[in-house]
């Protein structure tokens, strides 16, 4: 097509995706139904992957869709379905409108100030555009990750396993704590002792005590 400017097309694409991402992020935070909010979050994560494609990072885009859209948003949807009072609309805001206004002002100030700093920072001098390298080389990325920095990848895996094992342990401890009132020490349901058993046990304890004193 004559007169077609790819740079302009890329900028239009950016603006379109940015608008969709911002609207979806707002809906994820403000939609009344939390299940729909989780869906909007998943869609938002998919569109963020579009930015990674624009930024020549297809591997990261795939990972973003797999982890965020496929994993985290599904986890949030299941959590909102599992927790009975998660969809209570009274939980959406703080009791006083003043707290909401203060939060809004703080968020706007932080966004404007950081955005302003990002714009005035001399990026052009810091990173010369002549050196922009297109990092679509997946073999290069794999080599860099596994051969040059393999130990760090393994450390990440270890951190993730530790976090997940910790999460499961926490849940089991909490469950065991709740069940301890109705079950015995070993998870077997406690039964009331008969009088004979109690007497035998008392005698055994007394014998143990006396041997302990002799020794």
């Amino acid at each position: 097509m004559q007169g077609f400017d790819p740079a302009l097309f890329e900028q239009l694409e950016f603006l379109l995706i940015a608008g969709i991402v911002l609207v979806l992020a707002y809906l994820a935070l403000e939609h009344k139904e939390i299940v729909y909010a989780a869906f909007f979050f998943g869609f938002m994560a998919s569109f963020v992957a579009g930015f990674f494609l624009l930024l020549e990072a297809p591997f990261i885009a795939g990972m973003q869709i797999a982890v965020y859209t496929g994993g985290i948003s599904t986890l949030i949807i299941f959590a909102s379905l599992l927790l009975p009072r998660a969809q209570d609309s009274t939980l959406e805001t703080f009791a006083t409108p003043r707290a909401r206004q203060i939060s809004l002002v703080v968020a706007v100030v932080v966004t404007v100030m950081t955005g302003f700093l990002a714009v005035i920072f001399p990026w052009a001098e810091s990173f010369s555009e002549a050196f922009v390298s297109i990092s679509q080389d997946l073999n290069g990325l794999a080599h860099w990750l596994w051969f040059e920095n393999g130990i760090y990848v393994q450390m990440i895996a270890l951190i993730m396993i530790t976090a997940l094992v910790g999460a499961i342990t926490l849940l089991r401890m909490d469950k065991a704590e709740q069940l301890s009132s109705i079950t015995g020490v070993f998870g077997v349901e406690a039964e009331p002792k008969t009088t004979e058993e109690a007497t035998i046990n008392d005698d055994e304890h007394a014998a143990d005590d006396s041997t302990g004193v002799d020794e």
Partner: protein, 103 residues
């Protein structure tokens, strides 16, 4: 090519939006969504800086892989903590412990 500042402005807008959600909401699930939106903003900023820098091309991508992995793990952990909170207080309301103290 899209200027780097555009990506950064968008990233900081997402961070601000997520921060607003975390500050205003009382629902723990909504707060988690806010945190994830902030994380997405940070990732956009990191990948953009990685692309525009001659040095950080792979380093930036490696860092993002780390961030995504840790985000998945911390979400799972947050879910477990949320379930424990719900068992203890019977709700996912962040203000519930304060209300119960007042009673």
């Amino acid at each position: 090519m899209v200027p780097l500042s555009w990506y950064l402005v968008l990233a900081f807008m997402l961070i601000g939006l997520g921060g607003y959600g975390m500050m205003v909401k009382r629902n723990l699930i909504r707060i988690l969504i806010g945190a994830e939106i902030m994380g997405n903003g940070v990732m956009i900023a990191l990948v953009a800086i990685a692309l525009y820098s001659p040095v950080f091309s792979f380093t930036g991508q490696g860092l993002i892989i780390l961030v995504i992995s840790v985000a998945a793990a911390h979400t799972a952990l947050a879910m477990v903590l949320m379930l424990m909170y719900n068992r203890r207080y019977g709700s996912v309301d962040l203000g519930k412990p304060v209300e119960m103290e007042g009673q």
